[in-house]
Amino acid sequence: MAINLVKGQKIDLTKGRSSLSGIMVGLGWDPVATKKTGGFLSGLLSGGGGADVDCDASVLLLDENGKLTAKENLIYFGNKKSKDGSVVHSGDNLTGEGEGDDETINIDLKRISPSVHRLVFVVNIYNAKQKKQDFGMIENAFIRLVDNQSNEELVHYNLTDNYAGQMSLITGELYRQGAEWKFSAIGEGASEPDIGSIANKYS
């Protein structure tokens, strides 16, 4: 059974679960007041009854000082695979079927380069500034971690704050502590309007 996290909560993923190696990180969101008929992504992407807000998920691979040291350590729709092959973004425009993930990222914990200590998962609104959009137009944002082998959902975190005025959401972090990997439920909004400026914040 998945552990439902609350904001700020940290859990140990690998302790007592040393076999855990492949995890799928699923990120989801709904546009506010979308009509649910026709599937929620049709509302999201075509504007069929809901706000046409295009959210993108990305991951920053940070070093032990919390810094993004190279451009290739930013994994997003334009750079879907990390150099070591451990982090793979499955791409923009997923179907959103099944359990409701809008975008997913696969992670092979055992292959993550030793220089990477922290993986920060961000969702931001594409072209937010130009379209004058913010996370006040999005609800039900979540991040969940699934064991790739067993398909078991390990943790689920629903972001419940009011993110009006924010154009980016830091959803959570996967980080090393000693030999273990832990997950921290962050759920903080950020005013950075695009993924480039988020990356700059960590440089």
């Binding site: 609350v6 904001k7 700020g8 909560q9 940290k10 859990i11 704050d161 830091i170 502590q177 921290s184 439920a185 962050i186 759920g187 903080e188 909004g189 950020a190 005013s191």
Partner: protein
Amino acid sequence: MAINLSKGQKVDLTKSNPGLSKVIVGLGWDTNKYDGGQDFDLDSSVFLLNTEGKTASDADFIFYNNTTGAAGAVEHTGDNKTGEGEGDDEQVNVDLSAIPAAIEKATFAITIHDAESRGQNFGQVSNSYVRIVNGDTNEELIRYDLGEDFSIETAVVVGELYRHGGEWKFNAIGSGYQGGLESLVKDFGLNS
């Protein structure tokens, strides 16, 4: 050179530092690395406890609204509302030799002001530490970095100075609690 403690470790303070009386207890933390809106206001406080582990009166609870206690032997130097910058965020001056005999222990805590209404907790706080500095020489005697064990707690008891025989020792506690300052105040015997 300072001794770096780990959780649960107890060290002698006065025995290994003869003549030590005035110490500064420095408490530090970093918060809110994501600009998620509200400021964090962390507060440090001291509970002066008797042999039963309780505060005998309101006067033995030292915090931003009651900054001195133990007949002047314990003095909180004041509130810091943002936790910005390096170094100690709040400090408490303690004159060990002047602490009244009825007080067995001084327990140091850090709590988050208005944590519940602001939706904040210690999962969003990092690099918390407590250190003891010799007030006469400014030498750092011991330091305890709390690590990042905290999660949804809103109060952390960081450590305690306590009498042992004729000496003062320090115990690195690092235990988190939910319920903020209010629950600690109740636990230590005051009805706030």
